[in-house]
Symmetry: C2
Subunit: 526 residues, 2 copies
């Protein structure tokens, strides 16, 4: 029996509030610090580890977090989710993105269809299609191979797939699996589509229109934009476009596309990177095998997330430490800092994943809650961020918890040895140095050069950014966000907060405005 209770009604939350705070500077100094670093690692999938030594936790805090995770029934709730319970209560939907990469529990059916089989079937259709594009069976009207793939989508149909493409582009080039360059059109700003169209050879470009509902304003507008451009170039748009959508959408079974691939309402946009939404573009760009490895990494991490022991479940532990920082220590934001240029846009994807999932002020039953929920997420890759906003992180007046990500090896493997170390060693030295600088600080009588320390961080460490580690990393954060939503008793799978803006924008375009809206419309010349 699962109880969906608000965080502030849980006894173990009250207890957590009473646990003595940890002095991070103290515990991270000297030999005690070294021991913590060695001790506080949890194995992730694909040889990665989640290390939380520099978080403000000790055995007492961890014991209280374990109790809270148990009272909040995180494992039971995850089990219910992957067994097909209707977890997205607002929209009355199951939540099945994990099924796109594996089967954690029982068979899940909807309308008599085995959903795991359905997702696998669509992946196979995508793989076959991609193989045919690569081997020249599917070509443009002139019988020439497609060389570029362009994804048209926004939000979940853009940020995740784009971040994953950028993360694997150089890896694929290095490992000879790079098939086609990918580009992305998302913004309704006409300059976005224009610039992408100006930068490609449309005659050899294949476009992927991605919209689950088939009604997304930006995406449909950009579809027309692209169709116009194709027609102007004397090309038949229907021979240059595929769709990824749901079977009930107006885009399904349409003659406008060479082919359509399907997902369904049980996969939220921001959780759709492992569905056809990511699958089509990644399979076309890098080949279906690379996409399959990416799914394997995610599936392996999902398995760890199903572990009932929080100390062997990195996503759950990460989630609970985050709840402690947010609801007990009172920190409002979290910075995501990957020390990897390949993960350039990974923070932008996590920003959506986390903020759109958990930026809620009512519980899953639509009742008001009396505690804070999802934090602000922002970040840029290191070492770039060190020369930008780290000043505030080190010496600002607010404390911002940090999520570092580092890899022992580069992707391309091209490096130079300068002053006795490679660039990759310098990169890794910097992330190690930052963790200690933030945690321990450094006393200086000149207060302007003084570092208070006590600024918490964790780090995920892997061998290399490749399809498997990337999949595992993605699943880790998806599951972390899910667990936090369970603790806060909110629905992490709807997004009612985006509706009002859409409604008002339609009014502006229909000239049905008054008051401030009319005045702003006038200022903007609409």
């Amino acid at each position: 029996m699962i109880n969906w209770n608000n965080l502030d009604t849980l006894k173990s939350f009250e207890e957590l509030n009473k646990v003595e705070r940890v002095n991070l500077q103290e515990v991270m100094s000297g030999e005690s610090g070294a021991e913590r670093v060695k001790k506080c690692s949890v194995a992730m999938a694909e040889g990665m580890v989640y290390n939380y030594a520099a978080k403000e936790v000790d055995d007492n805090v961890l014991a209280a977090l374990k109790k809270l995770a148990e009272e909040a029934q995180l494992s039971e709730k995850f089990e219910a989710l992957y067994n097909g319970e209707v977890i997205n209560t607002g929209e009355k939907r199951m939540v099945l993105h994990q099924l796109t990469r594996g089967q954690l529990g029982n068979k899940v059916e909807a309308d008599g269809v085995d959903k795991r089989e359905f997702y696998v079937k669509e992946q196979k259709r995508i793989a076959d299609f991609a193989n045919k594009v690569h081997n020249g069976e599917i070509t443009n009207a002139a019988g020439e191979k497609f060389t570029t793939v362009v994804q048209i989508g926004i939000g979940g149909s853009d940020l995740g797939p784009r971040a994953m493409y950028l993360a694997l582009e150089n890896w694929a080039k290095k490992n000879n699996t790079f098939k086609m360059e990918a580009k992305f059109i998302s913004n309704v700003d006409p300059d976005d589509a224009s610039a992408v169209l100006n930068s490609i050879d449309v005659a050899h470009s294949l476009f992927i229109l991605v919209s689950k509902s088939g009604t997304t304003l930006e995406t449909l507008t950009n579809q027309s934009f692209v169709m116009n451009a194709l027609e102007k170039a004397g090309l038949n748009p229907a021979k240059h476009m595929i769709a990824v959508t749901s079977e009930t959408s107006p885009l399904a079974h349409s003659d406008d596309f060479i082919e359509a691939f399907y997902m369904d309402d049980f996969i939220g946009g921001r959780y759709s990177s492992t569905s056809g939404v990511g699958g089509a573009v990644l399979s076309l760009a890098f080949g279906p095998d690379v996409f399959a490895q990416f799914l394997d990494g995610a599936a392996a991490e999902d398995k760890l997330s199903a572990n009932k022991n929080i100390f062997e479940n990195p996503a759950m532990l990460d989630a609970m430490i985050g709840v402690y920082e947010r609801n007990v220590l009172g920190y409002e934001s979290t910075a995501v800092l990957p020390y990897s240029q390949a993960l350039n846009r990974f923070p932008a994807h996590l920003q959506q994943l986390d903020m759109e999932s958990n930026g809620k002020q009512v519980n899953r039953f639509g009742e008001p809650i009396n505690y804070v929920t999802g934090p602000i997420i922002f970040g840029e890759p290191g070492t770039n961020g060190q020369h930008s906003f780290y000043q505030l992180l080190h010496q600002g007046t607010d404390i911002v918890p940090l999520q570092f990500i580092g890899f022992k090896n580069s992707q391309i493997g091209n490096d130079v040895d300068i002053q006795g170390s490679t660039s990759q060693q310098k990169l890794c030295a910097n992330v190690a140095a930052q963790i200690v600088a933030f945690a321990c600080g450094k006393k200086d009588d000149n207060l302007n050069k003084n570092f208070k320390g006590g600024r918490p961080s964790s780090i995920i460490i892997g061998e290399e950014v490749n399809p498997k580690t990337l999949g595992a990393l993605l699943a880790h954060f998806e599951n972390k966000v899910m667990f936090q939503g369970f603790v806060w008793n909110i629905n992490s799978f709807d997004q009612e907060g985006v509706q009002l803006g859409k409604t008002l924008a339609k009014k502006v375009l229909a000239h049905e405005t008054d008051g401030a809206l009319a005045a702003y419309s006038a200022l903007l010349n609409i």
Copy 2:
């Protein structure tokens, strides 16, 4: 006589705290809202306006902010700054970035050199050099034209110039002033340099090494990386590289470069976009005339910032409203949301500008302060953000003040009319709709669909992103950040918070570590 006093010692700050709060939802509803939108605009340079109708201010709050600005002597401090007083007290330096684009006050000299003349001379040298590259007087060793320019720099030598390049790239292509493609190498991650080098034709590439001190680890490492690549290609690195640095740096007067252009210690990295740091790459990419227009826009905005009347000084008003939000209303972060794909990386630049300048916890005399300073800055372009983190902005548990930026026209001018409106109209309709949705909200008995409203925003509106409006926009934010630093009585022009990490990274690379630092180094295989 200027008094440098802490914010919490100012009488008018005490008064500001007592002013009755504004109910934003109420004042922005109905006809009162329309009147506010019409009334609350301040002219910026180049035909832009700063509109603060949707901020939580009224005549009483504004009067109190005006008093505070006066008691904090913001105009007098800016005057002192541009007349050459040593405002960067920690490093004992003048602050002269405004002189790179105009002369607001008296002649400013250092070591007998008129600094305005010095900056103009360097700009002219850059312009001559760029013209010679464009007309083929300066070529590679084979006498062939350079086609690509690559900036090697990090932090202020990267974020500002990169954001400006991306903002003007399509404008320049449309207006036939596009001369050379620009690329940027910043991260010490070897995959950054490798990927850029793999994407260009090095034989026809000109590299700009940018480091004021000439000692930045990442930049020197990437210089060697590039020199190696040039040598491997059988090219002479000294024939492919120029430098932008200070005259006292080890890079000055070196045979490693075709030419070196100079800046000095009076221009902070994050304020250097209008110096040679931005000037070299932008002049090479778009031509010196475009860069000159960019400077003109910035100079025009600087003039407005010198206006003593806060209601005719958009940067000062923006700054004071931000202080009210931070120190009275208690908001911790600010989102920057440009509705323009061209301003894609503008938020990342502002993130550095603001957080590195004002993320401080001691006053300009190195004494502790008892109030919060610089907020967290993050953002992505609209409409993309609407499909990402806006959920939290609308319905999350914390309030995040918003800074919108919108333009009436697109840059490329290519558009489609769908369902009775162009993409540009849809873009503008969305930003208008968002402001009203955030301010006014919408009642719904289903609390999951309820919007509380009361979420403050301002908007800057211009005709088009072009060199002049971009320059004005940049100067607006530089001056806003400066004014806020004055109010908080901090030094916005140093960055001691970046030092500790550098020191510890060197220790790691020298294997002089113990405790936690040694343990992390082992985990990362260094």
